[in-house]
Symmetry: C2
Subunit: 324 residues, 2 copies
């Protein structure tokens, strides 16, 4: 049995399952304690509960999915934006020691890409690109059936590809990044700037200053013209990112999470596919699938499990913990 743990800024998810994605038990915690040691103590209580509930003495492996930057070999988080107090915080060592099993750490977007590839929308695809639009835009790549990380785990960061040269300033400091147009934070800032308080859309959020992407999705679904306009803008920029991903990787499937999957088929995927199709070669379009993430609430736990499966695979193949 594999214990998967997803550590996020707003919650922690745990799942106990096997290598085929069958879940024996899962649970969730609120935002992790700013002190990594205390947070790990909380996580261990839940983990032991899951294990004893399933009658498992110790897991075969532990996988941790967490936001980057992180040091995979050292098994530490390096102060990611959503967990700034987790700086050089050992995660793998304490968990491994406490639970008596090898533990592996993986970037959360990579782990989510692996989960959608093994168990979700991209099951069986030879090449998968995963993009998630939450606060920022994360990306993960499975190329020729293996995770591709790139130097310093930086590959696939299509969220920071320039989709508009000299374009909008991104939170990362660069200009024109995809994230500066479709990331949750950037889109929220944009909405609060451009949507008038007088609109029905703003009223639903208690004023423009309370607007979030969710309001736009809900209002567009209800037929609100102003909301549809903003969603079209979102889809238009998202198409640019997907086009870059298709040109760069020639994938079989592009899986989109969070905002895109929440917006759904009619408002997001149907127009997105048409826009992408018009901007790539017919040969690159043929058989290309552009799909919403399929794992939903089970995703984070499965991402943790996939972090362990990938760590085990890497060790098996190279005899050492994830090179580079």
């Amino acid at each position: 049995m594999i214990l998967g743990i997803d550590i996020g800024g707003s919650k922690v998810a745990l799942a106990l399952g096997d290598g085929e994605g069958r879940i024996l038990g899962e649970t969730r915690l609120g935002p992790p304690d700013p002190s990594p040691a205390r947070a790990l103590a909380d996580i261990l209580i839940e983990a032991r509960g899951l294990l004893s509930g399933a009658g498992v003495a110790a897991p075969d492996a532990i996988g941790v999915s967490a936001p980057g930057p992180l040091d995979r070999r050292a098994g530490t988080l390096c102060g990611p934006p959503n967990l700034p107090t987790w700086r050089d915080a050992p995660v793998v060592g304490p968990l491994s020691e406490a639970l008596g099993a090898p533990a592996y750490l993986e970037n959360d977007a990579n782990a989510a890409a692996l989960a959608e590839w093994r168990f979700g929308a991209g099951r069986g695809a030879r090449r998968l690109v995963y993009l998630t639009m939450s606060t920022g835009v994360g990306g993960g790549l499975v190329l020729d059936g293996r995770l591709y990380r790139g130097r310093g785990d930086l590959a696939g960061e299509i969220g920071h590809a320039p989709i508009e040269w000299d374009g909008a300033l991104c939170a990362c400091g660069l200009h024109g990044c995809l994230e500066a147009y479709v990331g949750g934070r950037a889109w929220t800032e944009h909405l609060r700037r451009v949507v008038s308080d007088e609109t029905e859309l703003a009223r639903k959020a208690g004023g423009a200053s309370g607007l979030r992407p969710e309001h736009v999705v809900a209002a567009a679904r209800a037929g609100d013209a102003r909301a549809k306009e903003e969603l079209e803008r979102f889809v238009g920029y998202l198409a640019r990112g997907v086009v870059l991903a298709v040109v760069a990787y020639a994938p079989d499937v592009v899986v989109l999470g969070t905002i895109a999957s929440a917006a759904g088929e009619t408002l997001c995927f149907a127009p997105l596919r048409e826009q992408v199709r018009a901007r790539i070669w017919p040969a690159a379009w043929e058989d290309l699938r552009i799909l919403p993430a399929a794992l939903g609430a089970r995703g984070p736990g499965l991402a943790g499990i996939c972090a362990a499966l990938e760590g085990l695979r890497g060790e098996r193949e190279t005899g050492r913990l994830g090179e580079d």
Copy 2:
């Protein structure tokens, strides 16, 4: 011994060598006959000459590097732009039969990427991106020590990534492709359109209508201000393509061939590196190498040899000829 053959629109190169890139003999032919059968007969005469000159009865393997589109499994060319009469032309079968050795076909940009990775500027790099700017812009990827082709061999075609959304029309029919700005054909058309006949630069080409990128490189090297301006424009757009490649693949090394390598360090690589550096994350810049192709005239023959080495590797690993 491996026989490498590079079939291009303007010439054919042959090299006989080993898996370490040691060349026993090499030769060149002019443009291949429009009839593939006659061209292959010409190639076979040269190949037999190389083999007998080296005292080799038959090669262990044959590798053919040729422009796409091609059908690797069928071993046929599919009417590439520079060899339009080579449509569904069998190449691998006749060569293999005539010389009594397995033969493998590979896209020329992929084969050149492998050659620079095995024997050239990217020797030993774990992840290499190769871009070549001749008539069009070709790309090849070696990721985690293996050729990455993508679906339909379309990965790495950074030449057709949109560096300017709704930008210049590309020969491929899309808009804003890198190739539409830095490809040899596109740049030549641009020069003939914007450079005045009255300039020193145009005079050196016998009038603006005779201008080619080589004239710009030579004149810029001699200090011509107008030529420098055009070369700066070229480098500026090239930087956009390199930035996309770095974001997408997080490579250790980016190798640039043809026009870029001809322009050299001062006019191209030094300003290019500065522009790329300003547009990517510091972590992506650190230890990144952006280098001219190193193989020069030996490149095409070695590319052919690498096509064979890659085919042999694929068969060894999968038990069948290059999947997909």
